[in-house]
Each structure stands twice: as C-alpha cells, then as structure tokens.
C-alpha cells in the first residue's frame, strides 16, 4: 500500500510539476545562497586556522630598539619559546609604491606559495599575492629595487600579513601601493646596505610560545632586557630620550627641593614650638593681671556714674539759667522798647514845650498888656518847665540808651546760656554713654578675663602641639630625606623602563594584520545563518500551505480511505513523501551548486580573496554545511508536513468525506455598500486569507533579505560618502616622537586611544583634545569642565549615546576607566572620536602643558617620517572608504536578486494556488458570462491590495527589525558608527519594485485564468 500511495504522490508531483518546480527552485536558490555564504565563511575560517597551523603563525611579535644579542635571545629560547627575526625595511618601487622587504622565513610565519617557488638565488624573490595580482606581476617577471632586479620566483602569502597594511593603525588595504617582497638573507643585506630605503630597518621578532610560558611572562622578560641608547640609530628616539631624561632630572631636582623644604619645615616647626612656649608664658602673665584690670575698670565705671550724675545736675542748672536769661532778655527788650517810646514822648513833649515857650514869648510882646502880663508870668514857669524838660529828656535819653544796651546784653547772654545748655546736654549724653561704655567695659573685662583664661589654656595646648609638631616635623624631615634617597633610586628604576629594549609587543589576537579575513567573514557567517533560518521558515510555510490545499482538495478521498481502515500514519507518510523528496533533492542540488560550481562558494570567497592576502583554499565541506543543505530541508519539510497533516487528519472520516471546513472567524462578515466587484474581491480575500498571509509572509522574508543587502549598501555608501565629505583636514600626522614645537601650518591635538566594548567586540575610541581654533572639527565651544565632552556621531550611533548620557572608556591596558558625559553630538562619522579641550585632555592624561601627539593640516607639512607613527591623508581616507563598497558589492547584488527571486516564487506559488483553488468557481462565473478581464479583476487583481497593504506594513517592519539586527549581529565587529537610514526615495523604490514584481506575476497568471475551461472543470467535479 505504501508503494501504491507513493505512486500517487509521484503522480501528484507530475501533475503539479510547475508548482513543485517553483518550490524546488525556491529551495535550490535558498540553499545555494546560504550554503555558498556559509561555506565561504567556513572555508575561510577553517583554512585560516589550518594554514596558521601549517605555516606556524606567530603567537605574537615584538620589536626592539636595537637587535637582541645572542645571549638575550637565548634567555628566551632556552625556556622553550621559539623566536625568529622578522626584520624589514620599506623600499620605494616605481616612485609611488612601496615594497616591504623581508628575508625568507624559516620556522615562523612561513611563506605559503600560491605559485612558483622560493628564491633559489640572490636575484630571486617571492612577491606577496595581492600586490602581484593588483599590479599584474607573475612568476618570471622582474621587479626592480634600487637598481637591483629581482626575478619573481614565486607568489605567496604569510600568516602575519593576512591584511597587508603598512602600519597596524592603517584602516584599509591598498595593494596597488603597498606589498611585501621576500628575498634571500644575502640579497636583503645587500639591498639594505645601499641605503635607498624609506625608513630604517625595523627589528621585529615573531615568537611561538610552545606552551612554555604566557605572553605576559615573555613580555616581562623582554622588558628586563636593557639597551644602550647610543646603540640606536634612530635620531628621533635619541631626541625623545633626551627630553625624557630631562624630565628625569627635573623630577630629581623636585625631590631635592622636597627634601630641603622638609628640612625648612622642621626648622620652622621648631621655631613655632618655641614661639608657642613664649606665647603661653605671656598669656599666663596676662591671666594673672586680669583681676587688677577688672578692679580698675570697676572704679572707672563708678567714677563715670558719678560724673554722669554731676553733669546731669549741671545741665539742669544751666537749663534754668537759660530760662532766666530768656526772661531777662525779653524784659530788657521790653524796657528798651518802653524807653524808646518814652524818649519819643519826651521829644514830642519837648517840641510842645518849645512851641509853648515860643507862644508865651510872643504873648509877652503882645499889645495886650494883659496878655503880655500873663505871658510874662507864664514865661518863667515855661522856661523852667522847658529847662526841666531838657533835664528829663537827657535822663530819658540815657535810660533809653541803657535799656537798649541792657536788651542787647540780655540777648547775647541768653544766646550764650542757650549754647551752654546745648553743650550741657551733649555733655550729659556723653557722660551717660561713657558710663554705659564703662559698664560694658566692665562686663567685657569679665569676659576678657574668661577669654584670657581660655587663651591661656589654649596656648598651653598650642605649646604642647607645637612641640609635637616640631618633633613630627623633625621626623618628617628625616623621612623626606630617606624618601629622597629612595626616590632617587625609584626614579632611576622608573626611567629605566625607557631603557628597556622593548619597543612594541603585540599578541596575534590583537594584531589587525593577522587572521583578519576570518574575522571579517564572521559577518557573512552570521548573515547566512540568519538568512538560512529565515528561508527555511519561508519554504516550510509555503509547503504547509500547499499541503493544506492538497488535503482540502482530497478530503473526501482521504475520508474514504480512512473509513476503510487506513491509518493516519500511512496517510501522513503518503502526503509527506513528495515534499520531503522535493526538499531533499532541491537541497542536494542547491548544495552541489554551492560546493562544486564557480557560482557557489568560490564566488562568495572572491570578495575576501580580493582584499586579504590568503593562501589557496580548497572549499571546506563541513558536516554543518551538509546538515544545512541536505538534512534541514527534508527534515523541515517532514516536520512541518507532519504537524499540518496530523492536525488535518485528526478530523473524523465522516468529516473528511463531507469535506467539512472549519468556520473561520471573520470570513462570515457582512459586507454592505460595496460594488459587486469590490465585494467579491473582499470575499475572495477573506476566503484566501491564509494564502494572502503567506504572500505577505513571503514578502516579509524577502524584504528582510533585501533590506539586509540594502542596509549593507547604504552602510558602505555612507562610509564612502561621509568619510570623504566629513573629513575636512587634508593630512593627519600621528607622532611617535613628538616635537616640542607645532609645525607651522598645523593644528596640534592630543589623541589618546581608549577602548569601549559593545556586542562582544571592543573598539578604539579616540579622545581628541583640540585647540579652540582647530578648523577641521565643527565642535563649537568645547565644554569647560573635565567630564563633559563632544562626541562624534560615529560614537553616538555605535554605542547608542544621547546628549546627557554618561559613558565610560577604558584605558588600553584595561587598568583605568574614564567617565564622560555627552554634552553634544556632532555629525562626524569618519572616526569614533570624543572631543575635548586640548588643555583638559593634557590634564586628563597627565601630559605636560605643551604636549601633543597629533597634528592636522590642510596641506602637506614638512615632518620627518621617522618621527611619525602614521600619516593619514584625505585621499587615503577617500580611497579606503570606497573599498567597503567594492567588497560588499557582490553580496549586496546577490542578496537583492535572491530576495526578488524568492518573492517572485512565493507570490507565484501562492497566487497560482489561489487560482487553482478557485478554478471551479472561475469556471462557473465564466459559464455565467463573465469575461476573462472581469474574472481577472475578481480573482487576481484583488491581490494588488494585499500586496500594497502587505508592502506598507512589511517595509517599515522589516526595516525596523533589520536596523535592530544589523548593528548587533551583522556589523558588530566593525568599528564604524553609521546609521543605515534610508532616504524617502529608497522606500519609494522598494515599494515600486514590489509592485513591479507583483505585476509580472499578475501578467503570468492572467494566462492561466484564460486557460481555465468551464466544461472541463465541471466534468472533473462530477
């Protein structure tokens, strides 16, 4: 029975050939892509590992100022560590190229020949592979170095230059301008002796620990190996050394000053002790005299009280006098006024008397005797009266004059008394104040007495303390003297580090030249695993939809077989067999294409081979690859099918016979107010919602793959664009031995490389201290405190930092942590930098006030190369940033095409299935008289809205997911902080591509709708 049912399955395969072919293509394509990506990554990783072992890749390397003596070398090798010289020098070639000249290696970092043979004579050389490829150099060609012509005997690679960069700090390989050449020892010496080199010989050694010691131990041994400064020829080092030793002298001088200061301190402390004693004695005496002082002050206070009282009495008397004087003055004035009036009246009286006397006289001379007689009688009394009057007038005049004088005197007296009264009051107030003051003085004297007592106690303590201080200061001075002696030794010891011969010590795992291809393809491996999982999920889902469709179609047959006793297991195996076989064969084909054809693993390896210097590699077929390519597809198909079929076959035979469909919630909704076609499309959508969702799921999966590619595209292009556009300086010089003066035209900076970890990888973050006038970084005003910093957008994006965030960076040795707060983020993606004021940076890293180790300029500066670690020009950056685009381009294209194909296939399969499922209905509506165009509108064009809605949902969703995954899993090992944000145009293009692909499928399947024959379908149904 199994065989018979299997036959049925095979015929089903034949009948649904197009469908299975499409499914098969989907699987083949998926497996091919995934196995290719995975296989390339695994091959590179495995081959790197095996070639490292075969070629005895170093465990690390170190360089020294002067070559190690034999005895020094023996001190290491005797302990079981293998060491081999890797001396080199750089030699110019053809003007602008550089070849690094090495002797052929013997036991460590051996050359792996890709072509040809090792040099057999002194005029033969092996050229590094990438340089030979880029510069089109083949075995037998000639390479001219300083007039000496070498015949290329071979082309090879070495494990210590997997990434062929000139300096370990270089960001990118440029094999057109830099490569390696390996010659015989004799040829090496002859070439170096000619002196036409770009730099002096570098004394590098590679080592293999052989499990005999740790790298730390070796480093410790090397640090103990001293050298004589005079042995080195590096003039810049010598200059640096002089500066450093000057610092040592300064330090020693400082220690001497400290010693003298301590002695002075001890002397001063002794004087202080003596002074304190005297002070204490004086204060004692003061304390003794205090009772007398208090007594005196009491007397003074009593006297002041009496004085105050007397003054008060006096002022009261003066007040009364003043009052009397006032009355006197007023009376005198009245008297004066009265005498004045009297005088006036007297004058009038005198005048009247004169007139009277005159009249009497006239009357005496009157003709009338009587009159004359009377007059004569009157004449005498009148005259006497007049005479009396004259006397009175004189008296009145005298009184008047006296009254006036009295009045004036009284007034003056009053004024005087008034002043006296006023002064008396002041005197009284003063006496009161004085009394009050003496009373206070008395109280103060009491307090003073207490204070003096306390002062005395304090001085006693001060005396004791000062004595102790003096003793302590003496001990301190003795200690400082001792310190000084020991500090001199210590300074000698500290500065002795600089006399260590060790210059550079680099373990292999932190050497960017070593194993970098394997590190690089880790991204591809991660991407392919994620991609692979997504694709397996996709085709598993597609298969499950097929199976559900098939079981629905054959429900009554299954029910019939079931009703006659056939068991579910038998049926499950029957239905599972074809998908499993298809999945297996497709997986097999995909795997074979990936492994054995040039469009598989080899094509994916080309990216790496075109950048890294790697030996010939045979594609590695690991169990993991075979499991993914051969086992996972059929197993997935099997599991998914079994799960789906089991669920379907759990129905009773009767239910299957009747082909009962479970009512799906939502399908029975009432649709009102829509035109027939729209209503029909909506019904069709609800009926085929599972297939519609599968299309959207396929779109989702495809978009994830496409966005993985597009993110990479955007990422690489942004690297290319931003690195060039945001780099405003033309040259950046990193100093090995800084000068004291900043070269003219340059802007000095302090660059300190710190580190920060994220997603399991640690990257360098440069703290860059710049001057305010540095025109190359738009930092604005730098924060004026030690913790706030301006960070480049590269740092902010890589470490997800926002303004106000606090973050820490670790020193290179991990021994110190630095905490900063982000005060500003500037748009600078070209490097992970943290900007600070240069002086604060110097302070932070304890450098001198004039220290700098980096110079930026907008033109080439005249700086001696031997002084520098590296020179980075804007053109270097532009060239290197483009390499990412070149490297990742093929992967981007492959994934974009893959995602489009996957989407096309899934959409084709699902829409075709929808049409198949509706074929009876389509035939019916055709019988009713609907035209093909209308049928297409009803059954096919409704999918347009599914695709549009699906695209509008999945595009942002996938972008969000990919933006989450991308930095964490795909570029987590890349020290670049760039956000792969898309422009609106890109979103529009993605949307239009999806619609375009849909229209292709729509066009293809329109033909299928046309081919549905109503009569035939009805016949089949019958």
């Amino acid at each position: 029975m199994g065989w018979i049912l299997f036959k049925r399955s095979l015929r089903d395969l034949k009948a649904g050939f197009a469908r299975y072919v499409a499914l098969s293509l989907l699987i083949i394509f998926s497996i091919h892509i995934v196995v290719s990506l995975m296989g390339a990554a695994i091959t590179i990783i495995d081959c790197t590992e095996s070639s490292d072992s075969e070629l005895c890749r170093e465990d690390g390397e170190f360089s020294v100022f002067v070559p190690l003596r034999d005895s020094e070398l023996s001190s290491i090798t005797d302990k079981g560590v293998s060491v081999e010289k890797m001396f080199f020098f750089d030699h110019p070639v053809d003007g602008d190229k550089i070849l690094r000249v090495f002797k052929v290696r013997e036991s460590i970092n051996k050359i792996s020949l890709v072509k040809g043979s090792m040099p057999s004579s002194d005029d033969e050389a092996v050229i590094e592979r990438r340089y030979s490829e880029v510069n089109d150099i083949n075995v037998g060609d000639k390479v001219k170095l300083d007039g000496k012509e070498f015949t290329v005997s071979g082309i090879g690679v070495t494990p210590d230059y997997n990434t062929v960069i000139k300096k370990v700090t270089d960001a990118v390989v440029d094999s057109r301008y830099f490569g390696l050449i390996f010659v015989t020892p004799k040829a090496y010496d002859e070439l170096y002796a000619k002196g036409e080199n770009l730099s002096s010989e570098e004394y590098y050694y590679a080592y293999l620990l052989n499990g005999k010691m740790s790298s730390e131990d070796l480093k410790s041994i090397l640090e103990d190996i001293k050298f004589d400064v005079g042995d080195t020829n590096d003039e810049y080092f010598k200059e640096y050394w002089e500066r450093m030793t000057k610092r040592k002298d300064d330090l020693l001088e400082g220690i001497d000053k400290l010693k003298d200061g301590a002695k002075e301190l001890a002397d001063g402390a002794k004087e202080l002790s003596d002074g304190s004693k005297e002070l204490s004695d004086g204060t004692g005496k003061l304390k003794d005299k205090m009772p007398d002082l208090k007594k005196g002050i009491k007397k003074l206070d009593d006297a002041a009280g009496k004085f105050e009282k007397g003054v008060k009495e006096y002022t009261n008397g003066v007040g009364k006098v003043a009052s009397g004087a006032s009355s006197l003055s007023k009376g005198a004035k009245q008297l004066s006024d009265g005498t004045k009036k009297l005088n006036t009246g007297a004058k009038k009286y005198g005048t009247g008397m004169d007139q009277f006397a005159g009249s009497v006289d006239k009357m005496t001379k009157s003709d009338y005797p009587y009159v004359a007689g009377v007059a004569k009688q009157l004449s005498d009394p009148a005259n006497q009266l007049n005479g009396g009057y004259k006397q009175i007038q004189n008296g009145i005049s005298g009184v008047n004059s006296g009254a006036a004088a009295l009045s004036s005197g009284a007034a003056k007296f009053f004024e005087g008394v008034k002043k006296l009264n006023s002064a008396g009051k002041s005197l009284s107030d003063g006496a009161s104040a004085m009394h009050k003051g003496t009373t206070e003085l008395r109280k103060g004297a009491d307090k003073l007495s207490d204070g003096v007592k306390e002062l005395y106690d304090g001085t006693v303590k001060l005396k004791d303390g000062a004595k102790e201080l003096a003793d302590g200061a003496k001990e301190y001075a003795d200690g400082v003297k001792e310190f000084s002696d020991k500090a001199n030794d210590m300074v000698d010891e500290v500065f002795n580090i600089e006399t260590s011969n060790l210059m550079v010590f680099l373990e292999h795992d932190v050497n960017p030249r070593i194993d970098s291809a394997a590190d690089d393809v880790q991204i591809n491996l991660s991407a392919s695993i994620i991609f692979g999982i997504l694709l397996v999920m996709l085709f598993a889902y597609v298969i499950s939809v097929f199976i559900v469709h098939m079981i629905d179609q054959e429900s009554s047959v299954i029910g019939a077989l079931y009703s006659m006793g056939m068991k579910r297991r038998t049926l499950i195996f029957s239905y599972v067999s074809v998908p499993v076989i298809v999945a297996f064969i497709s997986g097999l084909i995909g795997t074979l294409i990936a492994i054995f054809t040039p469009i598989g693993i080899p094509s994916q390896m080309e990216d790496s081979l075109g950048y890294f210097s790697m030996p010939e590699m045979q594609v590695k077929i690991t169990p993991f690859l075979l499991i993914y390519g051969l086992v996972i597809p059929p197993v997935t198909a099997f599991i998914v099918n079994v799960l789906v079929i089991r669920k379907r076959l759990k129905k009773t035979p009767l239910s299957l016979l009747k082909n009962e469909q479970k009512a799906v919630r939502g399908r029975d909704i009432k649709i009102k107010g829509l035109k027939f076609i729209s209503m029909f499309r909506l019904r069709q959508f609800l009926r085929e919602i599972r297939a519609g969702l599968t299309v959207i799921f396929g779109l989702f999966m495809s978009l994830l793959v496409a966005l993985m590619a597009l993110n990479t595209y955007v990422y690489c292009n942004k690297v290319k664009d931003y690195y060039t556009s945001q780099t405003k300086y033309e040259y950046m010089y990193n100093y090995k031995y800084p000068t004291e003066e900043v070269p003219e035209g340059g802007y000095e900076a302090v660059a300190e490389g710190l580190q920060k970890e994220i997603y399991g990888y640690t990257f360098d973050v440069t703290v860059l201290g710049i001057t305010k006038d540095n025109p190359f970084f738009d930092t604005g005003d730098l924060p004026d405190n030690d913790t706030d910093v301006v960070v480049s957008s590269a740092v902010a994006i890589k470490y997800d930092l926002k303004v106000g965030d606090v973050f820490t960076l670790t020193g290179e040795n991990g021994d110190r942590m630095y905490a900063f707060r982000v005060s500003k983020i500037i748009d600078f993606s070209a490097s992970m930098m943290v900007f600070m004021d240069i002086d604060r940076t110097r302070k932070l890293f304890r450098e001198s006030d004039d220290y700098f180790n980096c110079v930026f300029s907008d033109h080439k500066l005249d700086i001696d190369g031997g002084r520098l670690f590296s020179t980075v020009s804007k053109s270097d950056i532009a060239r290197s940033s483009g390499v990412y685009v070149d490297m990742m381009g093929p992967m981007v294209i492959t994934m974009s095409v893959a995602s489009s194909v996957i989407f096309l296939v899934v959409m084709y399969l699902m829409v075709k299935m929808m049409i198949d499922r509706s074929s009876f209905n389509i035939s019916l509506v055709k019988i009713f008289g609907f035209r093909n165009k209308e049928v297409r509108k009803m059954y096919l064009d409704g999918n347009f809205y599914t695709i549009v809605i699906g695209a509008l949902i999945t595009i942002p969703l996938c972008k969000w997911i990919m933006d989450y995954i991308y930095p964490r899993y795909l570029v987590s090992n890349v020290g670049v902080g760039i956000s792969p944000t898309f422009t609106p145009e890109m979103y529009l293009i993605i949307f239009l591509v999806i619609i375009g692909l849909y229209l292709i499928i729509n066009f293809v399947l329109t033909g299928r709708i046309k081919r549905i024959n109503p009569a035939e379908v009805l016949k089949n149904r019958e």
Binding site: M1, I4, K7, R11, E554, S556, V557, M564, G565, T652
Partner: protein, 233 residues
Amino acid sequence: MFIETKDLKKSYGEGGSFVQVLKGVSIKIEKGEMCVIQGTSGSGKSTLLNCIGGLDTIDSGTVSVAGTFIERLKGEKLSDYRRDNLGFIFQFYNLVPNLTVRENIQVCEYLTKDPLNIDELIEVLGLTEHQYKFPSQLSGGQQQRCAIARALVKNPKVLLCDEPTGALDSKTSRDILVLLEKINRQYGTTMLIVTHNNSIKNMVDHVIYIKDGEISKDYINETKVPASELEDL
C-alpha cells in the same frame, strides 16, 4: 446476530439547531444478508449507516458488528475495526484521482493479510480492460465498479453502501446491483445498502424503512427478485 443496534440515538447541534436524527433505532441483520435501508432525505438512513460503520459517534444505545461493540472503540481500534470488518461504497466513488484502477484497488489490498485476488476481482467486476486507466478516464459506472473492487479486495465481512447508484444512470445502476448481488452470493458478504431508490428493496433479503429517525418498517423480503430483473431504477 451479526449486526445489531439497540436503542441507537444520535443527534446533531445544540440549542436552536438541535436535531435528533436517530431516535432509538434498533435493528438486527443476519450474517450474509443483503439489507436495504430506505427513507426520505433527512430521515437518518445515512447516519445509521455511518454509526454502524464507525464513522460517526453515537449518543446512546449500542451497535455491535460481528460481536464488536463499536461504541466502545476509539482511535486506532476503531480503524482496526473498520480495516478488519468493513468495506465502503460511496455515491461519489472517492477514488484516488492520480492512481489507476488497479492501484486504487491495491491501496486497500494491503489493509488485510488475506486479500482477494485482484485479477480475479478485476475480471469479476469487468474492469480488466480499464485496470490501467485513471478515474478521470472512466465513466461513472466504471468508477463505481472500481470503488466496489477497492471495498471488496480486503474481503470485508460487511459492505456498507451509501447510495451506490445515486450518481448513475438506470442501466449502469442495474449493472452495479447485479454485481453486488453476485458478490453477496460469491463471497457471502453481508451488505447494508442505503438508498432512496424504491426498486432496490425488491432484490434484497431484508428491508428497513426509516422515517424521522425511527424504524417505520422492518421486514424480511420473501419475494426477492434478481437484480437483473429490477425495474424503474
């Protein structure tokens, strides 16, 4: 008794849609009998057949076939019961569309350790010249004969036929009935035929009428005529 139901009750739905399809049906069928269950549409005849065939569960009562009380069976045991005892013939054949006639029969051949000879069966059923054709290449009668052969190949004790001639014309129907009669005679297979065709009752041993879920008539046909002589099919 070979097939016996006692007070068999079966209902569908609940609340407003509750329908009591079988209201305590009790029947007895002897071994080797050809029995017809007749009734109008919705009377419960197919439900009764399905209950006997173990295709549908029962609410109460008992169903025993060849001594097996099937209401006690579940899952695999129910499958085994059907595998060991029953053959089904449906109105719409339910053949596997992408298997040939012979292969469709072979599907069930493997369900038993003691199948009938396929060649002989094919010959008996007149399918020799069609045995390598697919169902879609056959007429309705030929497909039904194939379905009968498929049901018979495992030599079932009981053949349950649900409207076996429902989709066939008169002549083809007669041919099929003749065939069933022949099989009954030749193999002694107990047959239970559900039909609304009034003529078929004339060819069988036992006639049961069912109306509104209850047995309205149940009698032994003393005057049965050969299938070939049936009229008004």
